[in-house]
Symmetry: C2
Subunit: 340 residues, 2 copies
């Protein structure tokens, strides 16, 4: 996608498709909300049977399912619809990998209005939101994030557990900064029965993390520390500090302030584990990681997706010995390990 070939004869078709791409988001969101994918998994296959099952008009279901077929989320044979492999795994509620819940956060109305004011964000160089950027306490947004995005974290959380050798069972104290749903710290605690987690986030968000800690049987090794990462006392002597999806909200000087505080909180030889969208140095590849900066332009005052060389320099400035980069298979994010 990044390099248009000069030999293609220009056609306005892709400009048209891009200007109407918001319709793709709406169609998938509507199908998830109506739970069409689960209804198909349960055996309804025609517009008429699906409509009866999900409580909608046959004509509406037919047109929506045709559109989802065009987009590749369904297959159609005669008048019968079937799930694509990805819909079957990720959008069918009977699948353990169901991620339908993330549609609420990804299509959050506030985030959408920020995007509708993108020209204004470009003029200003930061979020157009008058409600303040998304780094301020905003319990409702982050509780929605914590509730809806947890299923997406499994691959990255297990990857971090593997990278840190959690199953070796060494006694660990882990600080999970901006814990959200808490699943990164909770996964470490599940894999390492001798890990104790201190989770930091806004109070109402920590309630979601605590619910998850209970659900996964690690609540007795889980401590809540409510507040801002910049103002709350971390404590010290940690083996690991988790920094998952936090740096991209801030400018580099702010990130460095946080990183110095993390350095102080770690014991010698302790490690900061950062989960981030890390574009290549060209900032336009790979597509998903590099695209993430636009979300931060509209949603924050000064955040973006930083490159590895920027992170490397920041961790070195903050006193870390060395930082290494670890791609997560088939995920757009990467893990940075920085050793004190």
């Amino acid at each position: 996608m990044a390099t248009p070939t000069a030999t293609t004869r220009p056609s306005p078709e892709r400009i048209f498709s891009t200007l109407t791409a918001y319709q793709q988001s709406s169609a998938l969101k509507a199908a998830i909300d109506l739970d069409i994918f689960t209804a198909i998994a349960e055996g309804a296959s025609t517009a008429a049977t699906l409509a009866a099952k999900v409580g909608a008009a046959e004509r509406g279901v037919r047109i929506l399912c045709d559109y989802l077929t065009i987009q590749g989320f369904l297959a159609k044979e005669g008048d019968c619809y079937a799930l694509s492999p990805e819909s079957n795994v990720f959008l069918n509620r009977h699948s353990s990998a169901w991620i339908g819940s993330m549609s609420d956060f990804l299509t959050d109305p506030g985030h959408r209005s920020n995007f509708e004011a993108l020209a204004q964000a470009v003029r200003k160089g930061g979020t157009p939101s008058t409600a303040g950027d998304n780094t301020k306490p905003n319990d409702e947004l982050w509780v929605s994030f914590a509730r809806s995005m947890a299923p997406l974290t499994v691959a990255a959380a297990e990857f971090i557990a593997g990278l840190t050798g959690a199953t070796e069972g060494m006694p660990w104290r882990v600080l999970d900064i901006a814990a959200g749903h808490g699943m990164y710290g909770i996964t470490l605690a599940k894999r390492n029965p001798n890990a104790y987690i201190v989770a930091l986030d806004w109070p109402s968000v920590l309630e979601v993390a605590h619910e998850n800690a209970h659900k996964h049987g690690v609540a007795h090794r889980y401590t809540k520390r409510p507040g801002s990462a910049f103002e709350t006392e971390f404590g010290n002597g940690y083996d690991y500090v988790l920094l998952t999806n936090i740096y991209h909200h801030f400018d580099m000087p702010t990130c460095e302030t946080l990183t110095r505080k993390v350095h102080t909180a770690l014991k010698p030889g302790g490690k900061a584990i950062t989960l981030e969208f890390v574009p290549n140095e060209d900032r336009v590849s790979p597509p998903l990681a590099a695209s993430f900066s636009l979300q931060m332009l509209v949603g924050t005052d000064a955040g973006e997706a930083y490159t590895f060389s920027q992170y490397e320099k920041m961790f070195a400035n903050s006193g870390f010995k060395k930082t290494t980069l670890h791609p997560i298979p088939e995920m757009p994010q990467q893990v940075l390990v920085s050793e004190k």
Copy 2:
């Protein structure tokens, strides 16, 4: 896109990209509104020079241009951005094929809110808009359509002129129903100096068509007939009746009512010329034509994109001898010619 391959290992990446596809629309719309493409065409190539030229923040322009590069609308070399071939032809105001104006209609806020209520449209089987569907008089919307979509019509209008042999200069009376910007009828009048056009649409929309007729030097052969296609007297003895992008707003019985009225208005041997999105009989291909039904689900009470067999039957029922289908090269729409 229509046939997911069973061998692909399912990944949630495309679900994520689709749920956030609205961001692509916003990015392209913002770049068109800021006129970034024209600024690059005029020689600005870095984020700093572009920002100065378009009156925006360097950081905002850099992040937006990186995103446009990822989407293939720009190329990037070091810190310099360049236009892709399609951006150069269609999004640079110095190009005669500039179509930037269509972004206003395609991302119309009313249309976007309808899409945000798509689940409701599917339940109901028609537009969720409480303001009424888009077949009612709605001068503001259709004036916006007429003003912003005219540049997109050139290829189809010239194709129709070629198909009808306009340049042979036969004396013609042409009725252009729901004329909009008027460019289909106006193009016939330009190619055939002996063609007289009667244009029918809402009064304020006809003003736009009339401006265009003036601009193209055919106003002396251009008559306005304000009103609804269903209520206004057509007159009779026409050589051609143009039905461009009108049928998809209505259900089939309503389309047939209109078609019978068209049949009466034509002289013997006269032809109805229909321009439409005509999906294949499977209703899921080709992608753009088949996708169009979803727009009609959210925007109308009962419209959609009909297949050729549906049109063929409707024209036959209305008394036409035969109907033929003519694809327009490199355009998503097709032309139907129906002979009385």
